[in-house]
Amino acid sequence: MPDTRRITGPESSLSPYTFSADFTATPTQPLNNGVRADGRQEKQHRPVYLQAGLITQARGSAYAEFNRTKVICAVEDFQMQGQITCEVKFATFSCQMRRQPVQDNQEKDMSTQLLEALEPAVCLHKFPKSQVDVYVRVLENDGSALSAAITCASVALADAGIEMYDLVVGCTAKLHGQTILVDPTVSEENAPSTGAGKPGGQVTLGLMPSLHQVSALAFHGDVDFDVLSQAVQTCQDSCQKLYPILQQTLVKTVTERMKDT
C-alpha cells in the first residue's frame, strides 16, 4: 500500500554508495600496531559531549555526541497508569544508506533494549498516574548508537525531574576474537570477523554506576565466555569513566536553572 501521508519518491532508487568499492565492507585488521583506524587505543572511548534541557517545549531533554554519533532525546509525561515507553528512531539521513521514515525492526529492537535499560532505574511507584514517554532520535549514526541513546535518555529523564534510583550509562564494545574495541565506530561495527574460526560479537551494557548494578546487557555474536566477561568488565570501567560527565552536565543545567529563578 502506498504511503499517502508522506511525499514519496520513485519506486526504486539506489544509493550511489552501492557502486563504490570504498564503502562496501572489506575485512580490515581491527587493530594496527595496537591502534585503531581513528587513532584510538583499544579501550579508549571517543570524546563525549552532553547537554541537557535544550528542547524548551519538552519536559526534559538531552543531546549526546560521541564524536560523530549524535543523539537527541526528549521526555514527555502523560496521564495514564504508571509506565514508561521508549521510541528510538533513526533520522532518514543518519546513516550511509538512506533510512525509511517508518520504524523498522532494528529501531523497534533498540526501543525495547532502551526501555529495559531505563526501567530499573526509574522509581515507577512515584508515578501512579502518569506515563513517561522517552523519544530518541539518532541524528547521525557513527556506531554505538544504542549506548549513546541510553546515556542521553537517562540524562533527559533526570532533566525532566523524573525520580530515578541512579543514572544509566551505556557502553558498547565490539569483539574481534580476543580483541575488545570499546565504543566502536560504524566501520568497526560492520567489519566482518577476520578469517574463519575467529569469532566476534558486540556487547552493549547499561550500568547504574553509583549502585554498581547492571540494568541492561545485550550481546549478539559468538565468543568465548572468558572474552565476554572480560568485555563486560571493560564496558563497566568505561561507564564509570563516563559517569562524571553525566553528573557535571546535570549539575551545570540545574545551577543555571536556579540562577534564572
Binding site: 508522506r6 526504486s12 550511489p16 517545549q57 539521513f93
Partner: protein
C-alpha cells in the same frame, strides 16, 4: 502571579503586552528571534543544515540516490521533501504517522521547491510551528566516482517569513508557537529576493491591503538578512 495569569488567561496576558507594543519575550512586534545557522553538521547526509530561530530548531538532511527518471520527464529528477514533526519537538505532536499538520508542511515545502524548476537543492523546512527556510547547497555525487563531487547549482534561494495576526489587528512577525496558537490568522510569505515564490494564508482573520503589504515587505527585508547570514556561514566552513 504573572505565570498564573499567563496560563489562566493567555489572551488577556498578551493584550496587556501588545498595548505597549512589546511582546512577552522582549521583542518588538516586527522583530525576528535570533537566528543561528549551521551547515554541514551531519556527515552521513550528502548535505545538511541546522537552523535555530529562538527556541525553534530545524534540522535538515539531504540524501542523494540514483533513480530512473519518469518517462514523461526524462531530463528531470525527483525531489522528495518530507517534514517530520516528531514527538520530540513539542507535546502537541504525537508519535506515529505524520499528522495532518506535517503533511501540509511537507506539501508546502514541495511546492516551494518545485516552483523553482530546479532539480534539487533548496530545502525549506519548518518546525514546531515556526517556518524558516534553510538553503543547503549540495554535493551531488556522480555514479561511482566519489572523488569528483559536483556542487549542486541553485537557481535561487527562497526564504520564508511568517506573521501572525493577533485580534485581527496586530501583526506579530516570527511568532512563537504560543503566539501562533493564540493568533487569529497566520501569513507565510516565501521570497527569493526579487519575486514572491509562495504565499500561504490558511483561513483565519481578514487581512487588509496594507497589512498584507507589511508582511511582504518584511519578508523581503528578512531575505536580505538571511542571505547575509547564509553567506557568512558558508564562508566560515571550508568545503
Amino acid at each position: 502571579m504573572a505565570d498564573e495569569f499567563r496560563t489562566a488567561q493567555p489572551k488577556e496576558y498578551y493584550r496587556k503586552f501588545l498595548e505597549k507594543d512589546v511582546r512577552p519575550d522582549n521583542r518588538e512586534l516586527g522583530e525576528f528571534r535570533p537566528t543561528v545557522l549551521n551547515i554541514g553538521s551531519i556527515s552521513t547526509a550528502e548535505g545538511s543544515a541546522l537552523i535555530k530561530l529562538g527556541n525553534t530548531t530545524v534540522i535538515c538532511g539531504v540524501k542523494g540516490e540514483l533513480a530512473e527518471p519518469k518517462t514523461e520527464t526524462p531530463k528531470e529528477g525527483y525531489i522528495v521533501p518530507n517534514v517530520e514533526l516528531s514527538a520530540l519537538c513539542s507535546p502537541q505532536f504525537r508519535p506515529g504517522p505524520p499528522s495532518e499538520q506535517a503533511q501540509v508542511l511537507s506539501q508546502f515545502v514541495a511546492d516551494v521547491i518545485k516552483n523553482l524548476g530546479n532539480w534539487c537543492g533548496c530545502s525549506a523546512l519548518k518546525n514546531t510551528a515556526l517556518p524558516t527556510v534553510t538553503v543547503d547547497e549540495e554535493t551531488k555525487k556522480v555514479e561511482t566516482d566519489f572523488k569528483q563531487q559536483n556542487m549542486l547549482h541553485l537557481s535561487c534561494c527562497p526564504i520564508s517569513s511568517t506573521c501572525a495576526v493577533f485580534d485581527d489587528t496586530v501583526l506579530l512577525v516570527d511568532p512563537t508557537s504560543e503566539e501562533q496558537t493564540l493568533a487569529t490568522g497566520i501569513v507565510t510569505v516565501v521570497t527569493d529576493g526579487k519575486n514572491i515564490c509562495c504565499l500561504d494564508k490558511p483561513g483565519g482573520s481578514p487581512l487588509t491591503d496594507s497589512q498584507m503589504r507589511t508582511c511582504i515587505e518584511r519578508a523581503f527585508q528578512r531575505h536580505r538578512e538571511a542571505c547575509k547570514l547564509m553567506e557568512d556561514t558558508l564562508c566560515s566552513i571550508d568545503r
